[in-house]
Symmetry: C2
Subunit: 193 residues, 2 copies
């Protein structure tokens, strides 16, 4: 199981700056869910803000609107099959935590842990976590499925993120970038210019 160390809030944007696909976790009224989101980005430095697209058809949408909170979890390559599975199945039809995340998919992370500032859970086995409170903007939520959030706590596995920089010594334990179908890219070589 991965470690989790607090990331100072002014550095939280760095967790998303390179454009990884994330898992959006949510909880409300005794229900919880997780979905995949390639359409996410940082929106501000300090206080840190994020933007993410959450389709109206999803259970995640219902839970995020009700709770006003979500977590962006940055999955590793080991969790790509899990990411695809939670991105293609609906929480309205199955309990993803019992049916998908514990299904034996390699690297599934096997569960969820309580967050520090929000009710949505942290997905285990991920590389980083951003706990967010929705910044209410009902017109853009309704028109574009676009949700803005303020990051109220951030965490990372120090084996892959420390001192404000990602470092991926391992081919499997690195972030991923969804393309389409079952196709992803791993985050590749780091280089300086």
């Amino acid at each position: 199981m991965s470690q989790r160390v607090a990331v100072p809030l002014p550095k939280a944007y760095l967790l998303l700056n390179h454009g990884p696909t994330v898992l959006v976790s949510s909880a409300h009224g005794g229900r919880r869910n997780v979905m995949a989101a390639a359409w996410n980005m940082a929106l501000d430095f300090d206080p840190p803000k994020v933007a993410v697209v959450i389709d109206k058809a999803t259970l995640t949408r219902e839970l995020v609107e009700a709770a006003g909170e979500f977590v962006l979890n940055v999955p590793s390559r080991e969790q790509a099959a899990l990411t695809l599975a939670v991105g293609t199945q609906s929480g309205r039809e199955i309990d993803k935590f019992s049916k998908v995340m514990r299904s034996g998919i390699p690297g599934d992370g096997a569960g969820a842990t309580a967050a520090s500032m929000v009710g949505a859970p942290l997905i285990e086995g991920c590389l980083a976590w951003l706990e967010c409170r929705v910044i209410p903007e009902p017109p853009i939520q309704q028109s574009y499925d676009l949700f803005l959030g303020e990051v109220v706590a951030a965490w990372a596995d120090p084996a892959v993120f420390s001192n404000g920089r990602w470092h991926f010594p391992d081919q499997q334990r690195r972030s991923i970038h969804y393309q389409a179908g079952g196709s992803f890219f791993a985050t590749g070589d780091a280089f300086e210019v």
Copy 2:
């Protein structure tokens, strides 16, 4: 110089789905500019929409607000130094097209070409291009520096994007993901799950 083939609009989101850093080009009233933006994402499939953060201090902001148009250009690893340069210098102080893009930076792409549907130029040497019209949402532009755009034309170099998929046979001719300082990641291995 790279080739440029039209990408069907319903596939345009695939150009951004994996989270590359882009160059935002703009033009208005005889002036033009280009800046880097790690904070971008796809926002819808068809008609395709995008979201991008454009800071109030930038000349790009002034030109995009005046023209109501911009282009998101997906630069290659060969253009990382150019990306950093146009991301750290202001178009208010220098003409980036004459001072940066023709400065001899390796892979600088050497210039710009007319777009098909918008006045903002296409940056030469890039991997893909999304011509966009601003979807006016003044409150979120003002509050969050957040701009939404409808993609009205899209293009890609068929050597790296065809049939709705990216493929990067070459280590240099692949997309990039900005981290911080002068540090980037290249898009890495493709894999299927």
